[in-house]
Symmetry: D2
Subunit: 299 residues, 4 copies
């Protein structure tokens, strides 16, 4: 590293980073999040930690405790939550513009960097889980996941998660480090409208389709057409194009100054980690349903 | 029906159809396939039955038996198997051009006709199962599936199937009658090359990517990059554009004349029905793994 | 032809076609339109003639005269005018929803059938000219066109037309029989909104962009930003999906019954032919401006 | 500017920039290129000037003279020439892989920054002219151009250029600052193959189509099909992804060190400026053909 970037200063001691007043932020692997965030909180600092927050829910709960005890802001960097596209989806759900939510379905695949300490769901599905935590009207009660590794003794590089919610809401996440093309597409189906969110579109990331089904007639006669289509206009709303990181950083500062709880607080980070843990467990058992108890959070 | 199409002749007796020499083929709902195909076989006729072959594996086995006993051709209309695109995929797998097969991943969604007698996997996943039966080098040993219905007392309109194979091969099928946009895209990942099959592309349905990973180095040192990318040319081969139904009909006639076994014979139809049964059972149990015993076929 | 389609009856005498009461319509090469349409009018029949109406404006005027003298309906098959997409564009212009029209810009290219009797503008640009005749608020006063033939002694297979209108409206048509991909895309720029019409899109053929420029400030100071962007929502209206030919045929019948003048009457056909003639002349002179006198029509 | 970027130092004297050893490069409007480049050459410095090189061919010739007299490298920043995509196109033409070149056709439109001192061809068509100067086997002999301004007393914001070459080669450039969508697509048609270059594609910018026409039969019989299609595979070669500016800067340094003439030397810059001048003149005369004399260069 020194030979490649001769101008930079190297250290093997993380305390040097904390001690240096010119350093505002550090980026480190997931496995180090807990120790470094804990050290920062114990030093009386507000913390904005990258996602996934920690490698276990125990660690996440411990950080939440520590921040609460010290009255410090603990925020998790669920970056997508601060994009114009995801905020627009949240608004469409919260205002009931799309009606009852039927499903959330995301494909997030590409030829990606194989990681050694976490599998593909900790790397990619974490984005969808944090988006869902913000956008959907309720929390999942169970997960069934499958996956596979194609490199010997390495973590899974392809995985599929189904999340179950009350009221017939279902979510599915599809992640893959070994896909020939890059896809970043989420469909959000509702009783009134359906949303397609394509993050690779340069300008029209969100498309709202006035499409759906209408249910008519008596269920006794199966040969009578009960379920009809409805198709109408498509609409792509203008999105706030502010850089997500800027919105997020301002929110962090604002939470510190005003004593507010961040949108993506420690509990949000914990819920995402719990689902990642449960999904990893389900993958090992080839799709066995693993229940989630997301109401029970820290303390 | 009479008032809408006054020129056509109506009947409520299927025997009238068999008796009429001007009628070469009939199209009927899945639930009637068994009775009508059995009647035809018993009348000494060769049968080409639409997919899915029957509503149960018992019925499928019974038809296979009947055809075998009478030395008649029994062929299942797995139409996609007779397209230039699927035949090219099969060739790429069979010649080892893509190397070892890692995964088959298909998304088949649109705003579709809700059916009352079968769920979305019997309507849409059946296409992928028949393609996989033809293209992949082995048969799956188990399935885990999830799904949901959004219309009260109607079958599932959204479903996700994971199929497990030996040698780390995994397959996933994603079907939905309630999607705002139409997607028909299959990715086939191999150790040497990856294929993207987009059936909505007017001319370049098959794209072959010379992309993948290379595994190097010692697994002891996780900070040393073990897994590298490889990216090369993309290539879209010219496909045979003959109408699938024409190729299929000629194959049926040829099998009758030459006494050959069809590519999509009764056993292929039975294997697909078995997976559909097992997946339906898995959906009811929210992803529980259901084993398949596809080696055990009729008789 | 007889050997390929043994069931059909052949004739070399066009009168046999007129005499046969089972024949409702005939399709013939452009060069025959005049003689056959004239014969039909002289036989007292209403005429719907394919586009381009004739190979010369003299012939077109002669047909208009004949129809007028005999009080018969003469309609030209400008098919696109009867599609939901083009009717929506016309509505957006006529209601001033897009503001003042700045430009009409069309790309219509593919690997197409080389014709021997007409060049590519008579085959492809005729579509855009008929759409423009219906959609735009005024008629062009001059044309400058360029083109090239790549097959010895054959007509031009690639061509570019610029049409000039009053009030800074400009139109451009880009046609090519020798393109590797098929493109059918028209942009319609207005002072308030801009429209993109992509005929290859299966469902969202028309997209309306709330985008444009705002002009502010004093023109004296060029370093002060005068022209700003404006970007807003995009909207894709639901279109009438009725088959164009059905709408057109019903309109023809309606004109006959009610004595109405068709939307695409002989004068519309003549205007299109005049532009085709002028553009062909301009191509021969490598872009020289050729004036059009479209107000002067038949009689 | 000072209030927006308080940390930077401002000056109104360009000599301060030349005098400051920390400044390696400056970016200034087109109208200043001549004076600043001339001053730099006269100060004995090698010059890499942005495109378009100057606002007139007289200025361009004067710079070429000055550089030659002083034995300095004068290079023009035709950036696209240093991209992997354009270098691949050049290779496909130079090796005759696409056969004889029939046409170069480019669409380069978007909602763009309106400039006050130059029209849209000096801003956007300059890219295509510099690419063509590098890729095509010969130089154009004449240009016909049309265009329009939609903002009072401002330069043209939409323009169309046709360039004529010997041997039936034709080129067309289509530029627009007022388009609702961004398009950057060039088609290059040849007798053996056709190339589609889409600069907005993230990875497959160049696609080579094994498509074309075959000419058979005798030209006497126009009803006999003379011209047939040929369609084969499509192929998208892997491109060198090195940043163009890096390749370009290294080439500039190499030319200085080795005394080589740059690929995009002053003469290339002059040829592009000459076409821009001629096209601007043609636009004012609504498409009148303006001859180019590109062989006659400086000195």
């Amino acid at each position: 590293m020194q030979s490649r970037y001769p101008a930079i200063q190297l250290t093997t001691n993380s305390q040097d980073l904390f001690a240096d007043p010119k350093i505002d932020a550090i980026a480190t692997p997931v496995s180090t999040h807990y120790d470094l965030a804990l050290a920062a909180l114990q030093a009386g600092k507000h913390v904005l930690v990258e996602k996934p927050m920690t490698v276990s829910s125990e660690q996440a709960m411990r950080l939440i405790d520590e921040a609460q005890k010290r009255n410090l802001v603990l925020m998790v960097d669920h970056t997508f939550v601060y994009t114009g596209a995801v905020r627009k989806m949240q608004e469409l759900v919260a205002t009931k513009a799309i009606g009852d939510v039927y499903y959330y379905d995301s494909v997030r695949v590409n030829l990606g960097l194989f990681q050694h300490d976490v599998n593909v769901i900790w790397d990619l599905a974490v984005h969808d889980l944090s988006i869902m935590d913000y956008v959907l009207p309720s929390k999942p009660y169970a997960v069934s996941a499958t996956g596979m590794s194609h490199v010997s003794s390495e973590p899974e590089n392809i995985a599929y998660l189904t999340l179950f919610f009350d009221n017939n809401l279902i979510a599915h996440i599809h992640v893959n480090w070994l896909a020939p093309v890059k896809v970043r597409r989420t469909m959000l189906g509702g009783s009134q409208k359906m949303v397609c969110y394509d993050d690779l579109e340069p300008s029209e990331k969100i498309r709202v389709y006035d499409k759906g089904i209408t249910v008519n007639g008596s269920p006794e006669n199966v040969y009578q057409m009960l379920v009809g289509y409805r198709t109408g206009d498509m609409w792509s709303p203008k999105l706030d194009m502010t850089e997500a990181l800027q919105t997020e950083a301002l929110h962090f500062i604002d939470c510190i100054r005003q004593g507010h709880r961040p949108i993506t607080d420690g509990e949000a980070g914990l819920r995402v980690v719990r689902i990642l843990e449960a999904a990893t467990q389900s993958i090992k058992q080839q799709g066995r349903l693993v229940e989630l108890d997301l109401a029970k959070v820290a303390v």
